[in-house]
Subunit: 273 residues, 2 copies
């Protein structure tokens, strides 16, 4: 990628808690977002009332080739889902006012294991999370919209788009909306490794003798695909079966390996921000 | 439960899209929240700027026994995680101003399968999602705080709290904050079943012959627990092994069954809200 390899640390995205687990690495953040099946997208429906809404959407971070060709190498987050008229109107209104779009925050979180330590206080998850902040606008350009639809479909199952009835017809294009989010701040957090406990408990023989400590790895597993009632194909096609087998192996290995790694560098007590 | 069995439908929570998949059933909504390992919690850090933040937290809906004894049978959402000073200050300030707390929105989403249909447009997930809106305050009462800590620890692995070094000491109590959210509106959505396609594609023999349609069920699977470096117990304790085995069986069955159910009642084209 041409872009700088880390997102800037700003007041808006600086991680103040468990800093040693924080990351601003662009590849890491994009990787977390792009491997999370549901993103949680928040916005404020009525600017006069500071009450947000969170909705689940499917999304991907990517760089539209035309943007790249024009020298704009900043990745965007493309979101698909129920873009309500409310959200759409807010985005439109913001653009018409000369603003960058509607303020959005997107979170992607993957749980990789339950970390069971000596005390509830030190319990944790192994996890990967990313938070994006920025501004959303509706994609109006037809080429970019079709490109994003293909991107998002193939993010669910690779090559799925090419293996379906495409391109979208006019009715489908009109009923589908893609939200494009420019990123003003982003950060990630990754916790992996064995349990860790406070020194006071690590010196307590009775507690060490009585409490099992370890990690229960967890991953999103696919089971055998189930053909639908009007399916006519005799075999599960390779783009599906290969994806299921490869993803299961990769995910299981990640969760198992994460459970065995050294604990993060011991956290240092500091005042919270 | 004594409370009414559905949340009221209001302007704030009324589902306008795919209404046939919407639910306001209290048990269904609580069940989705309480079986989701990470909740996504949003709030507005600066009321003057309509830009929200989303953070991942662990939480449970429950009814504090003392509340119930006092005739208050409304369930609350108890949230544990990094309650930043910012969030804490906002909650405190709101309470001091005589408000109910800081406006929060909580989303819980579980993906149960990828629904692959004839066209990208009709692709879907089998999923369960819930969205809560309400107001958050910091739990100050010691009994309620310990009760909530136990509740949340045992929501990760049942009986875990009793199998660790408890109760929390003073330092742990002071470093832990629990956010309690009163619910003003809530809604859920559940999609399960086989793929469904538009009539135009269902009549297209070439498309029916060429495209595999079906569901790839998915569930969060636990693999064998990995004992940590300072664990001394010879065997994985029953509260962990039983949980892993029972949950895996239950989750896999849900995902497999959801993949075979009839498709939701055909959606009727209607204008979006």
């Amino acid at each position: 990628m041409d872009e700088s390899t880390t997102y800037p640390q700003t007041v808006a995205n600086k991680v103040n808690r468990y800093k040693h687990q924080a990351t601003y690495d662009v590849d890491t953040i994009h990787g977390i977002v792009n491997s999370t099946p549901v993103l949680h997208v928040s916005f404020v429906p009525d600017p006069a009332i500071p009450a947000p809404i969170v909705i689940p959407m499917i999304g991907q971070m990517a760089l539209f080739p035309r943007d790249e060709a024009n020298g704009n190498s900043t990745w965007k987050c493309y979101l698909h889902g129920y873009v309500s008229s409310r959200l759409m109107n807010l985005a439109d209104t913001a653009v018409k006012r000369g603003e960058e779009g509607i303020p959005l925050c997107v979170a992607a979180t993957k749980v990789d294991g339950f970390v069971l330590s000596l005390t509830p206080y030190s319990h944790n998850y192994n996890y990967r999370s990313a938070v994006l902040q920025g501004f959303g606008t509706i994609v109006e350009d037809i080429d970019e919209k079709i490109w994003a639809m293909k991107l998002i479909t193939n993010s669910v199952v690779p090559d799925r788009y090419e293996n379906t009835r495409v391109p979208p017809d006019n009715a489908e294009m009109q009923s589908t909306r893609i939200l494009k989010m420019s990123i003003t701040a982003a950060s990630g957090k990754v916790r992996e490794g064995v349990p860790e406990d406070e020194r006071k408990d690590m010196k307590n023989e009775a507690v060490l003798d009585a409490v099992w400590t370890g990690v229960v790895p967890v991953y999103e597993k696919f089971v055998e695909p189930v053909s639908g009632p009007y399916n006519r194909m005799q075999r599960i096609p390779e783009h599906v079966s290969k994806f299921v087998n490869e993803e299961n192996a990769r995910r299981e290995e990640y969760a198992r390996e994460a459970a065995k790694k050294p604990a993060p560098v011991k956290r240092v007590k500091k005042s919270e921000d």
